[in-house]
Symmetry: C2
Subunit: 401 residues, 2 copies
Amino acid sequence: MVLINENFLQLQNSYLFSTIAQKRAAYQAAHPEAGIISLGIGDVTQPLCPAVVAAMHEAVNEMAQAATFRGYGPEQGYDFLRQAILEHDYLARGVTLDEDEIFISDGSKSDTGNIGDILGAANVVAITDPVYPVYVDTNVMAGREIKILPTNASNGFCAVPPDFHTDVVYLCSPNNPTGTVLNREQLTAWVDYAKREGALLLFDAAYKAFITDPELPQSIYEIPGAKECAIEFCSFSKTAGFTGTRCAFAVVPKALMGQTAAGEKVSLNALWNRRHTTKFNGTPYIVQRGAAAIYTPEGKAQVQQTLAYYRENAKLIKSALTDLGFTCFGGEHSPYVWLEAPAGMTSWDFFDLLLEQLNVVGTPGSGFGPSGEGYFRLTAFGSHEQTAEAIERFRNYFGKK
Amino acid sequence: MVLINENFLQLQNSYLFSTIAQKRAAYQAAHPEAGIISLGIGDVTQPLCPAVVAAMHEAVNEMAQAATFRGYGPEQGYDFLRQAILEHDYLARGVTLDEDEIFISDGSKSDTGNIGDILGAANVVAITDPVYPVYVDTNVMAGREIKILPTNASNGFCAVPPDFHTDVVYLCSPNNPTGTVLNREQLTAWVDYAKREGALLLFDAAYKAFITDPELPQSIYEIPGAKECAIEFCSFSKTAGFTGTRCAFAVVPKALMGQTAAGEKVSLNALWNRRHTTKFNGTPYIVQRGAAAIYTPEGKAQVQQTLAYYRENAKLIKSALTDLGFTCFGGEHSPYVWLEAPAGMTSWDFFDLLLEQLNVVGTPGSGFGPSGEGYFRLTAFGSHEQTAEAIERFRNYFGKK
């Protein structure tokens, strides 16, 4: 009988979101009158902007005529999208990249998982905690040793370089789930660490569009030397509401090298290009046209309008909870507010309290890893009305004490 | 410095299509007046059918309104598409499957590559020759031992089970590049082999829509026992012109088991579900709506019209070349005609002759593997006009002799 990849048997099952759904459903069944509000989802709710919609309609029409029909496109993505990314995501921030350093894909979840294909199984991987579980699971599947880098209130939930060697480090900034953002100094410390240790940084910038402070880097390549030590993952999911439309890109600089066990240097760009062209056949033309539309003047303005909508929710949640005495992280350049549960309560205790007393659903921090225990994630992706109502319930309940 | 996956260094570079492009460009530059016709591409040219276009426009409109907007969908695909597949691809042919055995994806290239993630590196993999190179390359990347199963004129370019053990067998029927189709008896022999040897069949049915003979199976599951030994890959690329729109599906039956080295049995469906939900985030909603439209009565009729267009080309190519004395395979339930080069000519000799004497471009069979030497692939994906003109040139040149 065919042999399986036994590393899969080491994966931990995550019951986080199914447990949340079950608890919510059970409460609703017992209290049919309760108007439950969810501030728990990590998914966008606002529609695609008009520029994207128009571009996709136009692309669908192109596919309907033989003269403009598009079959297989370049696996790495169309020039029109890669050039727009080079100009608006990078050159506008002082970062010069070549087109063949940009790889369009169907999502950063795919990219951050698949990147492991080009890396040796013997690399030791550092993963911050709490964390987006895909980094952990994909490395367990590959059989790699994982070292946990705890983040907590003492380091402001911002990962700091460890005092030991690792080969690969996953960083996510603005962070999911904690909403914290690494500033220039913190990123520089990571680039210094990578250079010193010969480590590869895998920088997940999926939430970069939420950054408003011009001093905060939106790309790791704004840090000198990062092109020699970092791969960056960006996505249209949270930037432009593409969670159900699927488009993202990875940046693999040509200056980035890996090595064989014998010390022979090999270009990671060449390896990723081979992986990407062998195991992937490109992102839909229609979707790439939609993505490119966010770089037009009207598209830019429309995307910012939607981002502003979510930012307003984040600001309301953070300021109200801070006023109520909660210790909060994130919420400023991020759609996520990460708050400390009241003293003595676990994440799940607090979940139950919010569900039962406020009829508000959030995400227990312990579901993102052990360092999340005692913390809780609220998200800004709801409607203004529901977010305001949820905050009102927080005020009524916690303001009275 | 980070360690690379050294298996990548064992990959052979393929210069097949770049060499074709270079030779064509050089000839065109030297003979600007030559009207070169390509019958070499494996990509569709006819537009998406009206039912698909309408469904995608409607889906784009849904994404433009908050009330109908879709964020993250189920990674395995939406019910509406999985149910349509169950009914029209399987139940209509007497095959009963459950919805959770169907996994919607962005392409069979991704699926046939990624499936290796759930399989052990120690499996011995059998690959027919000549072959679609992705099967080989993705297994080289994973470091697996590969055994080649040659096909040739003596077995009608139809792979037959070997007299030695293998753990995994890739089969493609209708075949790319040879255009040959495995009939019920041949598929039964493979299922018997798989059962006897405990092997897993990876059955690539990307070209099944070209089958017209009702006696020929379109799914491996039409063979009793196949659910216990086969994974099937299907695609909308060639069925409905989705090469640039990207939608496919894999079928992983729940009856299918793998095992650990210690002999513990593990469900491959469960492993693939974990892989698919961890390293993939679903196919675009818009694209899934487009794919589902091919199962409506008007969609079905329109798709058949386009397939008939290509079939007419295939029929013309095959009958004309046969009349001219060429030995041909495929072309009947397939868009590919596989022909023997004139005696004493290599595949590349024949390529040069066709380019220079007929101004027709095809694909040298040797580019698909050593058993393709002396053979040549022509495709039915061109326009009627260009195909007819190319055939006229064949008649003028080879008919004179």
